[in-house]
Amino acid sequence: MSLRPRARETAEPELHMGSGSAVSLTSASKVYGTGAEAVHAVDNVSLDVEFGEFLCLVGASGCGKSTLLNMIAGLDKPTNGTVEVRGGRPTLIFQEPALFPWLTVERNVDLALKLRKIDRADRKQVVGSLLEMVHLTGFGSKQPHELSGGMRQRVAIARALAQQAEILLMDEPFGALDAMTRDLLHDEVERLWQDTGFSIVFVTHNVREAVRLADRVILLSSRPGRIAAEFPLDIPRPRRIESPEVGALATEITARLREEVKHHGVQT
């Protein structure tokens, strides 16, 4: 099976040169509600995600990470500022699995292909290899509620990959997984990203995970969410989550994150 995005097969990569970044946020803000009850979830964030970049967003709970991803996905409009996306509609893996309970695992994944108008004859095989990739071969005919939380999240990942969007937005996708499975999926996502040249925006609480995966880590401050710090990473790949380089940088970022939380308090 080929997981290459369609655009990569047809359009030449030069198309992207000079046409800017995959995602550009310009002074983007999001306010929920009005008046006294208004919540400034995201405040004045300017951020570019380069084509092919693996960007990780870290920040305390409630600091606006999901809101930021939803704006990039086009599900929420920014209250102020602009969000521009190039290279097709992004796909988003939600913080909760968001599977359709009336469809089996297979058909949840299949729906993504169907909506892309892939021939029925080809779909079965693609679904099979996607489920294999997330280690769920043999669970295709189960209903989502028959799976564990982590398994559901992996189905959601398979469904998102079936879209072959060039921009992949992942909202704490591995939060519910055990360390072993998570490490395996880190490898898979990294391999996929290297093979395809997708741009990935990956949200996580886990600073080590961010350092394991990212080209660049962005630290968001607590509410209102602003960019507090940026860490470009040059640790050579393949990285291992337990390696000392990863650990050292993770410690540094965690210290900075702790400072943020101390300054602004944990949002409840």
Binding site: L75, L92, E96, A98, L99, L115, R116, Q143, R159, Q163
Partner: protein, 250 residues
């Protein structure tokens, strides 16, 4: 509206209203009569609305518990506009009440019965569908949008499947209404001597065939139970199990 809260001579107050509506002296006096009987009520409503709004402004209770009049009326308007209240209103009307009209329009025919049966069932079914559509989890709508299900495709792949359990509930209720109106209809409308259940019931009474009467009642009861619990019960259970809404036993 010509009414002003500060006390003003009545005549003066009417000037605005007269200019608008009352052209002839007779109309003028009628408008005055209506107005004089109406204004205390209007004032009372106005005062209530004002006190309501002041309480909201004063944060007497949190806004989500105690919304202001504007919010309440907007919600009422929305309900009226989307036809829900009409559907619910139709549902409260006993469908037997449609029979005289149906007989006038369709004569004593099967169409008359069909008309009433459909009218009895349709609101329940529509209500089930509409309320199912209203309660689709937003997360699933968003998931669908990310996958590219917008517009008609959103309905086909997300909204209608998500509304299905509620629709099934509406069907079940609709069946109950339909069954009742069918029996009532068969008692009222006898079509060319054809032996419907209702007709059999009534002729058993006329022929003093009480065992036959009981037997027919039992048949009606059994059909009701079979359709309700076997057909709809099994369907509903199957959907709920599929969705993981009940514990899978055995």
């Amino acid at each position: 509206m010509a009414y002003r809260p500060e006390p003003a001579p009545f005549e003066e107050e009417l000037a605005g209203l007269d200019a608008l509506e009352a052209k002839t002296p007779r109309a003028r006096s009628r408008a005055r009569r209506i107005w004089s009987s109406l204004w205390p009520k209007v004032a009372a409503v106005g005062i209530v609305l004002l006190v309501w709004q002041i309480l909201v402004w004063a944060h007497w209770r949190p806004k989500y518990v105690f919304p202001g009049p504007g919010t309440a009326f907007r919600s009422l308007w929305r309900d009226l506009a989307n036809g829900r209240s009409l559907i619910t209103g139709l549902q409260t009307m006993p469908s037997v009440a449609w029979f005289p009209l149906a007989i006038v329009v369709f004569r004593l025919s099967e169409t008359a019965i069909l008309f009433v049966v459909v009218l009895g069932a349709a609101p329940a079914i529509a209500n089930g569908l509409v309320s199912g559509i209203d309660h689709v989890p937003p997360l699933l709508l968003r998931a669908g949008r990310v996958l590219g299900a917008r517009g008609v495709k959103a309905y086909r792949h997300v909204i209608l499947p998500a509304a299905f359990p509620s629709f099934l509930g509406g069907m079940k209720q609709g069946w109950a209404f339909a069954w009742r109106s069918l029996m009532a209809g068969e008692l009222l409308v006898v079509i060319g001597g054809r032996a419907g259940l209702g007709f059999t019931l009534d002729s058993a009474r006329l022929n003093v065939d009480y065992p036959g009467l009981m037997a027919t009642m039992i048949v009606i009861l059994v059909i009701g139970i079979v359709v309700d619990s076997l057909l709809f019960g099994v369907l509903e259970r199957r959907v709920r199990r599929r969705w993981g809404l009940i514990e899978a036993t055995s």
